[in-house]
Amino acid sequence: MSRVVYDGTPIEYEPGDSLAIAALRAGQHPARGGTLCLAGDCGNCSAIVDGTPWVRTCQTEARPGAMVQRHPNGSHPSPGGPEHHTQVTVRHRSADHVVIGNGDSGAAAAAALRSEGHDVLVLDEADGDEVVGVFDGPSIIVRRNDGIEHFHVHHITLATGAAEVHPVCPGNLLAGIFTPKAAAKVQAAGLDLGNVVTVGAELKAFHGEGRVSEVELVDGSRVSCDNVIVNLGSAPRDVLARMAPLVPVQIVGPAAEAHALPAAPQEGVLCPCGKITVEDLDGVWNKGFHDLELVKRSSLCGTGTCQGAVCMPHLRSFVADRSGVEPKPFTARPAARQVSMAEAAAGYHIDTFRRTPLHGEHTKLGATLDKFGGWFRPWNYGDAVSEYWAVREGVSLGDVSTLGKMMVSGPDVVEALERLYPNHVHDIKVGRSRYVINLNERGHVLDDGMICREGDTRFLLTFTSGGASTAEMWVRDWVETWGLKVHVLDRTVSHGAINVTGPLAGELLRRAGVSDDDRPKFLQHRHIDVAGIPCHVMRLSFTGEASFELHHQIDQSVELWQALMELGAPLGIKPHGLQALFGLRLEKGHVIVGQDTELDSTPRRINMDWAVKLEKDAFVGRDALIRTASLPDERRLFGFTMDGPAPLEGSVIRVNGDVVGHVTSSWDSPMYGHAVLMGWQKRLPHADVVEIDGREARVSAVPFYDKEGARARM
C-alpha cells in the first residue's frame, strides 16, 4: 500500500482515496474538527498539502509521498518561505456544450444534449475538474492537479446540485460529524463509522472531547455514538451562476430548485471558518447592523475560506428571523473553487521587452543594459564621462534603433501633417527635415521628433523611443478621423538607427566612404551608402555636436556598427549610452518628453512656443492653445546652474523656503565643472535665484552649451 505523510506520520491509503478519506482511514479528522461534507464546499477538511495551505483534502487525491500538515491549532498557517514557485501548465481548449456536474441532473442534461447531436463536455470534481469560475466569453476556468485549463465554450449548463446544510449548534466543531453524502462516501471507501447516529432538525448539541461521543436532541435526550450523520437538507450550489450574472447559463437539477432555509440558528458556531457564533451575530444585530451585507461585514460571517458555503443558509435564516424579511444571498465572487496564485498566473507574461539588433554588440562591449520604454538599451558602457568626452571631442556611436519611425505617403499627406503638427510642413523641401512637437487636443506636448520630406507626397516621421507606439495610434486615429488619404507604415522595429556624433563624425563618414559632397548638411537627409551599407542619413543634433543618424535595414545593423567602430578606432571612437546622452542633451537644453515635461505641459510652459505656428488654420491642440494663451500661467520649465555636485533629480526647488517645483534633469557637467539642471517653477513671480538641495542655484538661459548651435552645423 502507498502512504502519505500526515502531520509527520506515514499513513496508508487505498487507491482512489482522497487525502481526507486517507486521514479518516487512519482514524484522524483531516483538519481539527467540524462537520465534513467531503464535497469541496466547506473549509473543514483544509490542510497544508505539499506546502500549500488551505487545500481541500476531500478534493485532493492521495498520491505516494504527499506531505499533509494540519493547520496549527488556534492560528492560521504560515504563508510559507521564499522558495521559488513551480511552473503550472496551462491549456487552452474549446468546447461547444459544457455541463458542469456529473450527478443525476448533469448526466441527464448531457445525455439529452448528445441525443440532439451536440458535442458535450462534462466537467465534474470527481474527475479532478474543479471549476474556478464562469467568465465572459463565455469562458470557464478549470483547475486540475496537472494544471489549469481555460475553456472557450458556447453553451454552459450548470448541474452543480445542492450543498448539504451543516449543523449549527454547540459542539459542531468536534470530529465525527458528517453530512449524509459524506457519510456515504466514507462508507463506500470501506470505512466503518461504528455506532453511527443519524439526526435531523431534532439536533440540539454535540458533546464529547475532541470528537463527538453524544448527541443531545431538542427533547433533552442524549444518545451516545461514535459518529453522527446530520441530515438538514440542502441549499442550491448555484455560486457559479451568481458569480457571473450576465453570462448566459442554463441551470438544471437541484442547483435550480428552491430550498427552504434551515430553522433560525439558536446557539453555536455558525461560521466555522471564522469561529463566529450566533451570539456574535446577535451582538452586531443589536448594535444596528441590520442589512444582510452589514451583518456579514460586521461579524465577518461568510468572509472565510468557504465564502459562505456553510453559513449562508443559516445567516439568511438569522436575518429573516430577526427582520421578518428573507434576504437574498450575498454576492458571490470568484474563485468558486480556489486556485493558487501560481495556477492563476499560468500562461501570463507581464511584458515583452524588445531588443535592438545591436543588443549583442552592447553586451560584448560590457554595457549595462536597462529597460527604457519597453526596450533594453545601454545605460552606459562603464564610464559615462568618457563617453561624454568622446562625443564632445571626438566621435561616438549611439544605438537609436528604438526611435519611432514612420513612413507616410498619399495625396493628402501634406494636409494631414499640417493638421497633425503645430509647425509648418508644406514648406519643408524634399531632402530637408524639421524638428517638430506633437500635441494632444488639450495643447499638451505628447512627443517630439523629426519630419523628413522624401518626396512631394512622401515623408518619414520620427518619434521618441517611448512614444513610438502611441504615435502610430495618434497618426492613424487622426488620419481616419479626418478621412484623409494617407498610407501609414510604422518602421520602428524594422529599421535600425545608429547615431554618429561628435566633431569627428564627418571624418568618420568620410572614412566610411561618404564624400563631403554627399554628406547631408544640418537638417538635411539623404539616402547614401555608409561603409557599403544603404542608409538613410539624417543630419540633426540632440547631443549638441554634429550628428548623423544612419537609418538602415536591421539585418545590416551589426555589420554597420562593427564597420564604424573599426573605422573610428584611430579617431578614438567610443559608443555612448543613455546616461551620457541625457547629460549631453541637457547641456543643450533639449527637453525629454515625459521626463522634463508633465502631463499638461503646453509648449509655452517648456519654452517651445517657437515650435508652434498659431497662424496656421488648424492643427491638433490649436484651439486649446489659443484659449489658454491669455490665461495667467505660473508653470514654467527653467534651466539652472549651480556650484558643487549636481543635486538628485527630483530635488525640490524652493524660493524663500516655499516649494515651487522640482528638478527634472540634473548633470555634473564635465565641460563646465558645475551642475546644469532643468526644473519647474510653478509660482509667480519666477525667481532668478532659487534654492535646491540647500544650495543656491541660478536661472540660466538654455542651451548651456554652444548657444549659437555652431557645433551641430560643423
Partner: protein, 403 residues
C-alpha cells in the same frame, strides 16, 4: 467569539422617513459622504444634515477598496492634502472611540529600472519637502523590511531601490465608514439607507434639493459624494465632469499567519500587496483600461496580478485565491480628485477619487464640511472643478491613476 467582532460600535438609526428639508443633503453614505456629515456636525455645529444611500452604508467603493492609507504623492498640493488625511487617520480611533484597526505598516514602492528609480527618488524628495516621511532606500534595506522579496524579480525585474513611506498604513474600510456613521448619527445627522436619489430639485440654475424614492427633500446645499455613478448625478444639475468610470478589481488569499509586515507596491509591474489584520494577502493593481460601469471580475485580472505578485514574492505562488471583487471608480482626466463647488449654486461635489479615495476620507470630509460651513477650505482649493478651464490641472506623476 471572533476577535474582530467584539468591539463593534453601535449605529443609532433614526426611525422613519427623511424630513422634507435639511440644511445639507449628502448623496452617498460612503466614507466621504459620512465623514462630511460627521465634520459638519462635530466641527461646525451643522446637524440638520441628511445622508442618503441607494443601498446600505459603505456599500460602494468604501467597502471595496484595498484599505491603504498613504500620502506619498508627487505634487505638493496632493502630498499636503493626503498627509493631513493620513495624520487625521492616526488620530481617528482616539477621536471617535472606534477601533478602525489602524495599523502603520510602511509602504515600499519598488523601482526596477533606472527611469522608475528616478521616479521613486523624486517621490521621496517631494514627500520630504512637504512633510511626508518618505526615503529612497536600496535593495538591502528593502530585504530587511521584507525578507520574502526576490530582489532579482525572477531574473527579469531586478530591484534597483524603492521609496519607503514610513507612515503608510491600513485600516479596516468598513469600520472607518461605521465610525463616521456612528459619530454622525450620535451628533444628530440623519442617515437613510435604501433611499435612492432619482433626481435633483432645481430652481432656475440653482439646486434646491433632491428627489428620492421616499419623496422630495429640499436642501440648502446638496453634495454628491457618489462613487461610480457621479456623472449621472452631475448631469441632473447640468454639470459636465472630466470623469470616466472604470472597473477596479482586487483579491485576497486565505488567511495566514502574520509574517508580511509592509505594504509593497511596484512602479514597473503595477501591483501592490499587503497582509490584512486577519492574515489574508490582499493584492490589487490598476483599474481596467476601458470605461465600464459593470462590476465584473475577470480571470485575466487574477492572472495578471498573480503573475506580477509571485514574480516578486515567490512565496505567494502557493497561496490560494479566496475572493476577488470589483468596484467602479471615477477617474478624472488629470487623475486627481475634484472637490468643492461645481459652478451650480447649491451643488457641491466630491469625486475623481480614481482608485477609490479611501485614504482621503478624513481630510476630504473635513475640508468639504469646512467649505460648506465657512466658504473656504485651502487644502482642497487647488482641486476645484474650475481648474480645468483655468489650465491648472493637478496632474500627478506619482498618483496611482497615472499609470
Amino acid at each position: 467569539m471572533n476577535e474582530f467582532v467584539e468591539t463593534l460600535l453601535d449605529l443609532p438609526w433614526q426611525v422613519g422617513d427623511p424630513k422634507p428639508a435639511y440644511d445639507v443633503v449628502i448623496i452617498g453614505a460612503g466614507g466621504h459622504g459620512l465623514a462630511t456629515a460627521y465634520y459638519l456636525a462635530t466641527r461646525h455645529g451643522i446637524t440638520n444634515v441628511c445622508v442618503l444611500d441607494s443601498n446600505f452604508i459603505g456599500s460602494g467603493n468604501s467597502g471595496r477598496n484595498t484599505t491603504i492609507i498613504r500620502s506619498n504623492y508627487g505634487i505638493p498640493e496632493s502630498v499636503a492634502f493626503y498627509q493631513h488625511s493620513l495624520e487625521m487617520y492616526q488620530r481617528l480611533e482616539d477621536e471617535t472611540g472606534c477601533w478602525i484597526m489602524h495599523s502603520q505598516k510602511g509602504q515600499i514602492w519598488l523601482a526596477h529600472s533606472v527611469s522608475t528609480a528616478r521616479t521613486e527618488q523624486t517621490r521621496a524628495l517631494m514627500n520630504q519637502a512637504m512633510g511626508a516621511k518618505t526615503d529612497y532606500i536600496g535593495p538591502k534595506e528593502i530585504k530587511d523590511l521584507c525578507p520574502q522579496i526576490d530582489l532579482s524579480g525572477g531574473g527579469r525585474y531586478p530591484v534597483h531601490g524603492a521609496s519607503y513611506h514610513h507612515e503608510g498604513a491600513t485600516a479596516r474600510h468598513d469600520r472607518v465608514v461605521w465610525a463616521y456613521a456612528q459619530g454622525a448619527l450620535r451628533a444628530g445627522v440623519h442617515v437613510h439607507q435604501h433611499t435612492p436619489v432619482t433626481g435633483l430639485l432645481m430652481d432656475g440654475d440653482r439646486v434646491t434639493g433632491v428627489q428620492t424614492s421616499k419623496g422630495n427633500i429640499s436642501a440648502g446645499t446638496v453634495i454628491s459624494a457618489v462613487g461610480g455613478n457621479v456623472t449621472t448625478v452631475a448631469n441632473w444639475a447640468g454639470v459636465r465632469l472630466p470623469i470616466r468610470t472604470h472597473a477596479l478589481q482586487a483579491f485576497v488569499t486565505n488567511a495566514h499567519a502574520q509574517e508580511f509586515a509592509p505594504i509593497v507596491s511596484s512602479n514597473d509591474l503595477v501591483f501592490y500587496v499587503s497582509q490584512t489584520p486577519r492574515g489574508q494577502m490582499l493584492i490589487g493593481a490598476e483599474y481596467d483600461r476601458f470605461a465600464s460601469y459593470r462590476q465584473a471580475t475577470s480571470f485575466a485580472y487574477l492572472q495578471a496580478c498573480s503573475k506580477k505578485s509571485i514574480t516578486m514574492f515567490p512565496f505567494l505562488s502557493k497561496l490560494r485565491i479566496m475572493r476577488s471583487w470589483t468596484g467602479i471608480c471615477d477617474v478624472s482626466t488629470d487623475f486627481s480628485p475634484i472637490m468643492g463647488d461645481t459652478g451650480v449654486p447649491g451643488f457641491m461635489i466630491s469625486t475623481g477619487w480614481g482608485t477609490w479615495g479611501f485614504k482621503a476620507i478624513p481630510a476630504g470630509g473635513e475640508q468639504l464640511a469646512q467649505l460648506v460651513a465657512t466658504g473656504s477650505a485651502p487644502l482642497i482649493e487647488p482641486f476645484g472643478l474650475d481648474r480645468f478651464a483655468k489650465e491648472a490641472a493637478m496632474a500627478d506623476p506619482s498618483s496611482a491613476g497615472t499609470r
